[in-house]
Structures are given as structure tokens and as C-alpha cells.
């Protein structure tokens, strides 16, 4: 009987769905939905742990591969640059400090990111990397995040260290760092995008600096997308406010602050989309 075709056909047919079965109805019963919810949470936690572990390894390898002399150079450069401007009393308030930090950390980010793809191309490691079962977009973004994190740590260290020597008491640490980090990430994306056109890291760096220079010196007032946006108040405003109605630090204009960052995020989104499309067409690089 077991070997007969009728028996096999009966076995292969799926069982009819029972009405109001909690598992099939997407959690009609509270008792059934909780395990499913917990399962989803569990899966989410496992995913987060795996992704964190992946990024953790990638973080260290990216740091070792791309930030050896560069990190040292950035540290020495930060000490010399900020030491000089503080010693010459060129930075009297956080607004000026943010302007100078934009300049310095943009250059640092370009220095960090300019070899991300050219170095792999030059050393012919790109073929091996991209034949691995990895999403190359995700990999590039995680590498960029790694470089941004280093820039953030460096800016945190520098600003904290040099704040001690400056003659201002208003504190806009958080907005300042957020502006620096988001701008650094955007600069990193621009650098990597440029590097898909230039074969060499140095050329990538120079072209990116040229683009950023044009934006910084000429085009920043033209549109809403301003990478080097500085909402911090001028010292006179702070002074006027402190002898007026309220004491304490003046808050930066919140709406324009977030609006600017949203515009920058949109710009980064477009640039990343274009970068991903460029990365899909990298096959020609190998031949």
C-alpha cells in the first residue's frame, strides 16, 4: 500500500489551512504572536551581532591597510595646524574653530579615502576581493564608515585638547562634532567616487581637493547644499545675548541646521547611488 501511487499523491498534497490558526493568521492569538515577535527580535539580534562582528573585522583590516602613515600624518598635522592657529590667537570662538576644523578634517578625510579603491587596483587585489561572496557596495560603505570614525575620533581628540587653550566659554560640542562627522562622510563619498575615475590615489586626492575648494570658496552660498555649513553664532551675537534677556550659550538655529544636514544627506544618497552604479561597472578595470 505504501508504495502505491495513490498513497504518494496523498502524502505530497499540502494539508488544508485551518481557519483562524494563529500561526497562519499573522498573530491572531496573543500567545502565538509573542514567540514570533521574539523570534524576529532574536533574528534581528543575531543579524546585528553578525554584522557588528563583520564590521569589527573590516574596521581593523581597513585601518591597518589604509591608515598607517596617514593616521600618523593626520595626528602630527592636527597638532601643528591647530597648535599654530591657537598660538597665533586666530581661533577665538567655536565658530572659527568649526571653520578651521572643516578645512583640516576635510583634507584628512581626503587623505584617508583617496587610496580606498586605487590602492586595491594598483596592487591588483580588487579581483580577489570582489570574487568573494560579499556585497561590494556594503563593503565600500563600511570602509568609509571606518575612515569616518577615525576622523571623528581625531576631531574629538583635537577639539577637546585645543578647547582648553581658547578664550571662549560657550560649548557647542555636539552640533560641531555632528557637522564635522557628516561632512567628513560626505567628503569620503566624493573622494571614493572620484577615485573610480582616477587610477591613482594622488590624482584622486588632488581632484577631490579641487572640487571641495571650488565648493568652499565659490559655490557654498549658491545652493541649499552646503557641506561646510556653520550655524554657530558670531562672538558679537553671543556677547549681545549674554547681556540681554538670557544668559548662557546661544543655541544655533536648529531648523536650518537640520535642514542643511538633510540636504547633505540627500546629496550623499545621490552620490552613493552613482558610486554603486560605477562599482557595478568595474569589470572593465580588470582587463
Amino acid at each position: 500500500m505504501n508504495g502505491s501511487p495513490e498513497w504518494k499523491a496523498t502524502e505530497a498534497e499540502p494539508l488544508p489551512a485551518l481557519p483562524n490558526t494563529p500561526r497562519r493568521q499573522g498573530g491572531a492569538g496573543r500567545g502565538a504572536s509573542i514567540p514570533r515577535f521574539l523570534r524576529m527580535v532574536g533574528q534581528g539580534v543575531v543579524w546585528c551581532v553578525q554584522e557588528t562582528a563583520y564590521w569589527h573585522r573590516l574596521f581593523w583590516y581597513t585601518s591597518r591597510r589604509f591608515l598607517r602613515a596617514e593616521l600618523l600624518l593626520a595626528l602630527v598635522g592636527a597638532a601643528v595646524f591647530f597648535g599654530t592657529i591657537v598660538a597665533q590667537d586666530l581661533v577665538r570662538d567655536q565658530r572659527t574653530m568649526l571653520d578651521q576644523s572643516y578645512l583640516f578634517f576635510s583634507v584628512v578625510m581626503v587623505l584617508f579615502a583617496m587610496n580606498l579603491i586605487p590602492k586595491e587596483r594598483e596592487e591588483e587585489t580588487l579581483e580577489i576581493l570582489w570574487s568573494q561572496p560579499i556585497n561590494r557596495n556594503k563593503m565600500v560603505v563600511l570602509q568609509l564608515l571606518t575612515l569616518t570614525l577615525w576622523t571623528f575620533l581625531l576631531s574629538l581628540l583635537t577639539i577637546t585638547a585645543f578647547s582648553q587653550f581658547m578664550a571662549y566659554d560657550e560649548q557647542y560640542g555636539f552640533p560641531m562634532l555632528l557637522l564635522l562627522v557628516t561632512t567628513a562622510f560626505a567628503v569620503g563619498v566624493i573622494t571614493v567616487l572620484v577615485s573610480t575615475f582616477c587610477r591613482q590615489g594622488i590624482a584622486t586626492g588632488l581632484v577631490t581637493l579641487l572640487i571641495l575648494g571650488i565648493h568652499y570658496f565659490w559655490l557654498r552660498q549658491l545652493g541649499p547644499i552646503e557641506l561646510f555649513y556653520n550655524p554657530l553664532p558670531l562672538p558679537e551675537e553671543v556677547f549681545r545675548q549674554s547681556i540681554g534677556q538670557s544668559f548662557g550659550p546661544k543655541t544655533p538655529p536648529t531648523i536650518s541646521y537640520w535642514a542643511n544636514r538633510i540636504f547633505v544627506a540627500v546629496l550623499v544618497g545621490f552620490l552613493l547611488d552613482y558610486l554603486f552604479r560605477r562599482l557595478r561597472r568595474t569589470a572593465e578595470w580588470f582587463t
Binding site: 553578525q50 579581483e127 580577489i128 570574487s131 569589470a283 580588470f286
Partner: protein, 292 residues
């Protein structure tokens, strides 16, 4: 496990047709892909490793279409490119661990596999040295180890013995032979000896087309009865050098020995000899040259 390549064609943006209608099916074993420089071997390798997209045609690995799920194929794939770049600042162990992470290996599994591979390619004594201090042969072995990470069922190696000294060449060949016992290994080379020593099946790629697909024995039989040897004077070397079908010239106590592949004896005193893979290769090149 099988690899089905059907009617693969690749035309580059500049209009150059690198591959035209390449079709073959592979099963477990070592498959040699032979062809002169510029025949389209590297293009085919890059299509098989999904680095390049074919202009038309289909690649199916273990029932998975490359266009539908490339990631699933990459998980089954190990690749050693012709120009194997390495990360000079990493040690051999770190390099393998890094690629292990990218392949999705974690924790103990990754460490165990890296250790096994280091032992397998006999690099235990230098595993903690930086790759920039390695010789060409050692780097090739690291390359083979990375291709074996994650125990892939398809390994593709492009010119693995190019630039190696004879001892390293033998080592690499033996290693590839071992790998071919339980998985598909595609060995692309222009070195005939590599195919002769290791492969149970081979194909000849000329001008982007598969001109032969079969066993090395069947390949050799193409030059049967058409391989000749004769002794001549040293002055004749220049004369025969320009003749199509000249396989080798060697000097021994009796004089200068010429080996030539030709349908008719090149000289009345020429003796018919047993052909080898190299003779058959020259015969095919000759035929294709005439056809072109």
C-alpha cells in the same frame, strides 16, 4: 556539482570580440583550459568568476543561474587570478583570516580552516611573516590557500605556475591535482606541461572559440603521424625557425635535432616520432592559422 557554460559571448565596448559561442559542461575533476596569450582565457575566467558579465549566453553553476543569484555562485567559488595581488602589510595568516571574514567564516571555524590551509600549502613556518617578504612561489601557495577558503566546490586558477621555478611549479601542480579529486578545478594556462601533468580533461581556446574539448590523449592524437624529427646543421636553425610547425630545436652529441609538426615530412631523412601535447598544440595553432 556541475558547471554549464552555454553559448557565452563577450564583446568589449571597443567592439573586440573576446569570446564567441563558448559552450562546455564540467563535472568533478581537473579541467585544463589551454590557449595562447590573447585567446580569451582570462576573459572566460573572469566570466566564470562573475567579475565580468557576458554579452550573451548563460552560466549555470550547480543549478544556479549566474544572473539570478550571483552571490550563491560566489559562495561556491574560489579564485586565483593571473596577477595575484597581495596585501603587503598583512601576514599570511592575517590575509587568509581577512578573506575568511569576507567569505562569512567566523570564530573557531575560521581559525581552524586557516590553520588547515596553511599546513596544506606548507607555509606553517612563515605564517606570521609579512607577505611582502614572500617569494613568488610562496605567494602562489598563499593564493591557492585563499582560493580554498570556505571549501568551495569550484576552484578557478588562472596561470598558476607562470613565473615559478621548476620545484615550485611541481608543488603547485601536485596541489592542484589533489584539489581536483573532490571538486571542479579549472586551470587556465598557456603552459602545455601543466595540462599534460595534471588534467583529465582539457579544452583549447583559440581566437575566443573552443577548438577542442576532450581528453589530453584525444588531443595528442591530432598530431599523430604528423610529428617529425631530423638532424641538421646549426646554420639551418635560422631557416627552420620561420617555418610553421617548428616545435623545438635541441642540440645533442649527434648534432642539432629539429622537431616539426607537418602533414608531410619536412626533409627526406625526417623520422616520424610519437607526438606529445605540445606537438598537438602546435598542430592546432597551425590549422587555426591556416583557417584564419
Amino acid at each position: 556539482m556541475d558547471v554549464v557554460c552555454s553559448h557565452i559571448r563577450k564583446v568589449y565596448p571597443d567592439g573586440k570580440e573576446a569570446l564567441s559561442d563558448v559552450t562546455f559542461t564540467l563535472q568533478t575533476g581537473l579541467f585544463g583550459l589551454l590557449g595562447p596569450n590573447g585567446a580569451g582565457k582570462t576573459t572566460l575566467m573572469e566570466i566564470l568568476t562573475l567579475l565580468l558579465e557576458p554579452t550573451s549566453g548563460q552560466l549555470v553553476v550547480d543549478g544556479v543561474d549566474s544572473r539570478r543569484d550571483p552571490m550563491a555562485i560566489r559562495r561556491r567559488l574560489g579564485y586565483l587570478p593571473q596577477f595575484f595581488g597581495f596585501f603587503p602589510e598583512l601576514t599570511a595568516r592575517e590575509f587568509l583570516e581577512y578573506l575568511g571574514v569576507l567569505r562569512g567564516l567566523r570564530g573557531r571555524e575560521k581559525r581552524g580552516m586557516v590553520q588547515d590551509l596553511i599546513e596544506k600549502v606548507r607555509l606553517t613556518h612563515v605564517q606570521n611573516k609579512r607577505l611582502k617578504t614572500f617569494s613568488g612561489g610562496m605567494l602562489r601557495r598563499v593564493g591557492i590557500a585563499q582560493a580554498m577558503l570556505g571549501n568551495p566546490s569550484l576552484i578557478i586558477v588562472d596561470e598558476p605556475t607562470a613565473g615559478l621555478d621548476p620545484e615550485e611549479r611541481v608543488n603547485v601542480r601536485n596541489l592542484l591535482f589533489e584539489l581536483g579529486q573532490e571538486r571542479i578545478v579549472i586551470l587556465s594556462t598557456h603552459i602545455v606541461k601543466d595540462i599534460e601533468e595534471t588534467c583529465s580533461r582539457m579544452a583549447l581556446l583559440l581566437h575566443g572559440r573552443i577548438c577542442f574539448d576532450g581528453t589530453p590523449t584525444a588531443f595528442v592524437s591530432a598530431a599523430k603521424g604528423e610529428t617529425w624529427e631530423f638532424y641538421g646543421e646549426p646554420e639551418e636553425v635560422e631557416l627552420f625557425r620561420n617555418q610553421a610547425g617548428l616545435v623545438s630545436v635541441r642540440e645533442d652529441p649527434q648534432g642539432v635535432c629539429f622537431r616539426i609538426v607537418a602533414p608531410t615530412p619536412p626533409r627526406p631523412d625526417a623520422v616520424r616520432v610519437r607526438p606529445n601535447l605540445e606537438d598537438a598544440y602546435v598542430r592546432f595553432l597551425q590549422k587555426e592559422g591556416a583557417a584564419a
